[in-house]
C-alpha cells in the first residue's frame, strides 16, 4: 500500500497579505487548495495502483477540519481511504515539518506502507523538508525531487531533478519519495468519482492518539512584507535598451 501526504496551503495566485500583528499571513476567508506538488504525489500513487505496483492507497492530511477537503479530492482522484490527523483550527501554522514527519512515522508503524509519496515542498512555507525528515526518522531510503519512477522487483529507479540536470538512483522498498512537478500530469476528479469518494472512509486521529508532540521547534518572531520593487521606465526600441545597458556597463561600449 502507499500513503500520500496532501497539504492545504493557500491557493496559488491568491494574494498573500501579512497579518497586522506581523506574526503570520492572513488565512481566514482565503481560498485554500491541495498543494500542487501533493497533486503530483496523489496522481503518482493512483498510477502505481493502476500498474498493480501497490494494492491500496491511503491519503493523509494533517491540519484543521477543512483539510478533509484535500483528502476527499485525493479519494476522488483514486485513493482508497483517508486518514485525517486533526489539529485545532488556528494552530495549523504551528505545525512544522518535523512534527508532520513524526506523525507520518507513527502512521508508517500503524499502516506498514511500502511507499510513501509526498509533495516536494509546500508552497506556503517553501521548506522542502518533510520527505527527508521522515526518511531519516524511519531510516528508509529517500528519492526527493522525483520526476520519473520505474518499479521492478521491490526496487524503484528514480530520476531526480538536480541542480545540474537529472540524476538516476535506485532505492529498495520501502522508500519515501517526494514528487516534483514534472513527475506526471495530475488528473481532474470527475463528478462520478467525487460522488463515489463520499462513501470512502476517512479515519480521524489526533497527534495525541499517535503519541506525537507537535509543539513547534522554531518560533516565528516576525513576518513582514518584502521590499517593494518599483517599476522603471519603458524604452521605445532596442537601440535605446542597448544604450542603457552600455551606460550600466553590462555591454562594452
Amino acid at each position: 500500500s502507499s500513503g500520500i501526504n496532501a497539504e492545504w496551503p493557500l491557493r496559488p495566485g491568491v494574494k498573500v497579505r501579512v497579518r497586522p500583528d506581523q506574526l503570520g499571513v492572513v488565512t481566514d476567508g482565503v481560498k485554500h487548495s491541495m498543494n500542487p506538488f501533493d497533486e503530483n504525489a496523489v496522481e503518482e500513487a493512483v498510477r502505481m495502483k493502476q500498474k498493480k505496483i501497490v494494492k491500496e492507497i491511503i491519503a493523509v492530511s494533517c491540519g484543521p477540519t477543512q483539510s478533509q477537503e484535500t483528502i476527499r479530492t485525493a479519494l476522488a482522484m483514486g485513493a482508497d481511504r483517508g486518514i485525517h490527523v486533526e489539529v485545532p483550527k488556528g494552530t495549523e501554522a504551528d505545525l512544522q515539518p518535523l512534527a508532520v514527519a513524526k506523525i507520518f512515522a507513527k502512521l508508517i508503524e500503524k499502516e506498514q506502507p511500502d511507499v510513501v509519496i509526498l509533495g516536494k515542498q509546500a508552497i506556503d512555507d517553501d521548506a522542502n523538508q518533510t520527505t527527508q525528515l521522515l526518511a531519516g526518522l524511519v531510516d528508509w531510503p529517500q528519492g526527493t525531487m522525483a520526476s520519473a519512477l520505474e518499479h521492478s522487483d521491490g526496487q524503484l529507479k528514480i530520476t531526480r531533478e538536480i541542480d545540474g540536470g537529472l540524476e538516476d538512483i535506485k532505492v529498495k522498498l520501502p522508500a519515501i519519495i517526494s514528487a516534483d512537478l514534472r513527475l506526471n500530469e495530475p488528473r481532474y476528479a470527475t463528478l462520478p468519482n467525487i460522488m463515489k469518494a463520499k462513501k470512502k472512509k476517512i479515519e480521524k486521529l489526533s497527534p495525541g492518539d499517535l503519541g506525537v508532540d507537535i509543539a513547534p521547534r522554531l518560533t516565528v518572531k516576525k513576518v513582514v512584507d518584502p521590499p517593494v520593487r518599483q517599476a522603471g521606465d519603458k524604452v521605445p526600441d532596442v537601440a535605446t535598451l542597448l544604450d542603457k545597458l552600455k551606460e550600466k556597463g553590462h555591454i562594452k561600449a
Binding site: V25, L137, G165, G232
Partner: protein, 320 residues
C-alpha cells in the same frame, strides 16, 4: 560556535570532484557571520582535489575529506552517516549546507537523526539562533528563532556575498567513516553540459518563457547569452512545455538567482517566477503584452515582439 559547510563538487563526473560549487562561497560567508571557527567537509567517491580547493577559501580552518566508493554521487543515505560521524566527534553548534538540491536533500535527513528542526534557505542571520527566510514564494519574509542545541541550516546563496575562493590555507584531514547503506544506490547523472556561466551564480541571466514557443527558438537566447557572457534560464512554463531542460528553471520551485542583470524574454511575470529573480540588481523585460505583470518589476521595459527584438539586440551588440 563552529560550523560545517557540507558542499558538493560543482560537476561530479565532469570534473571528478575537483571544483567547488560557487554557492559554497556564499555559505561560507553566512557561516562566518555566526562567529567561531568554520570547518568544511567534502564527501564523494573521488574528491581530494575538491578538498584542496575548499581549503583555499579564506575563513575555513579545517576541511574533512571523506572519500569512499559508498559516497558515489553523494547519495543522501551515505553522506548523512558520514556527517553524523563527524558531528559526534566535533559537536558543532551550526551545520550549514548550500540551498541547492544537494543541500536540501541531505540536511533535513540529518535533522531527523539529531531530532532538530532544520531551517531552510535562509537569507539573513540575526543572531546565532535567529534567522530570516522567505515564505509564500517570497511574498512574506519570516524571522524564526531556533532553540535546538544544533542549528541545521540551508543557505540561499544569492542573499550572501561570495567569499573569495583563494587566499586561505586550511588543514585537510581524511575521514573514513563506517558506511552501511544497502538501501540506495547511485546510478548516474545526466548533466546539462555547457560552457556558459553557472545559472545560480552568473552575473547576467537571460531567461525565456512560453513566448519563445519552442525549444529551437531558445537558440537565439543562447546566441545573445554568448555575446554577453550570460547564463540562460527559463520560466516553469517553458520547462513544462519541454522547450528546455529542468535545470534552467528559475522560480519558487526552481533556482533562485540574483544577477547584476536579468533579462526576461517572453515571460509574463507570474509570482512564482518573480520569487526566483526579483532580487536581481537590474531587471529588463521584453514582452509584446504591455500589461504583462513583469513590467511591474522591471527597471527597463521593452514592449516588442521578441522575435524581432532579440535578433536586433544580437546585431546591435555585434556592431560594437
Amino acid at each position: 560556535s563552529s560550523g560545517i559547510n557540507a558542499e558538493w563538487p560543482l560537476r561530479p563526473g565532469e570534473h571528478d570532484g575537483a571544483n567547488v560549487n560557487p554557492a559554497t562561497l556564499n555559505t561560507v560567508t553566512a557561516a562566518t557571520k555566526l562567529g567561531g571557527s568554520v570547518h568544511a567537509i567534502v564527501a564523494g567517491d573521488s574528491c581530494v582535489e575538491a578538498g584542496n580547493n575548499t581549503a583555499k577559501i579564506p575563513g575555513i580552518e579545517k576541511v574533512f575529506v571523506a572519500e569512499s566508493p559508498a559516497l558515489k554521487g553523494q547519495i543522501a543515505e551515505s553522506v548523512v552517516q558520514v556527517l553524523l560521524d563527524i558531528q559526534s566527534k566535533n559537536n558543532y553548534t551550526h551545520i550549514l549546507a548550500n540551498g541547492t538540491v544537494f543541500g536540501k536533500n541531505i540536511l533535513p535527513r540529518m535533522g531527523a537523526k539529531l531530532d532538530v528542526a532544520p531551517i531552510s534557505d535562509i537569507i539573513g542571520v540575526e543572531s546565532d539562533s535567529t534567522f530570516v527566510r522567505t515564505i509564500y514564494a517570497g511574498n512574506a519574509i519570516q524571522t524564526v528563532e531556533s532553540s535546538d542545541p544544533v542549528k541545521l541550516i540551508t543557505v540561499r546563496g544569492t542573499a550572501f556575498e561570495a567569499s573569495p575562493a583563494d587566499g586561505g590555507s586550511a588543514a585537510t584531514e581524511n575521514v573514513s567513516s563506517d558506511i552501511n547503506n544497502d538501501k540506495s544506490e547511485y546510478i548516474e547523472a545526466k548533466l546539462s553540459k555547457s560552457d556558459r556561466p553557472e545559472l545560480a551564480s552568473a552575473n547576467i541571466v537571460i531567461s525565456g518563457g512560453r513566448g519563445l514557443k519552442n525549444g529551437e527558438n531558445f537558440e537565439m537566447l543562447y546566441e545573445l547569452a554568448d555575446k554577453m557572457g550570460a547564463a540562460v534560464g527559463a520560466s516553469r512554463a517553458a520547462v513544462d512545455a519541454g522547450y528546455v531542460p529542468s535545470d534552467l528553471q528559475v522560480g519558487q520551485t526552481g533556482k533562485m538567482v540574483a544577477p547584476d542583470l536579468y533579462i526576461a524574454v517572453g515571460i509574463s511575470g507570474a509570482i512564482q517566477h518573480l520569487a526566483g529573480m526579483k532580487d536581481s540588481k537590474t531587471i529588463v523585460a521584453i514582452n509584446k503584452d504591455a500589461e504583462a505583470p513583469i513590467f511591474q518589476v522591471s527597471d527597463i521595459g521593452l514592449v516588442d515582439d521578441l522575435f524581432k527584438a532579440v535578433p536586433e539586440m544580437i546585431a546591435g551588440i555585434e556592431q560594437q
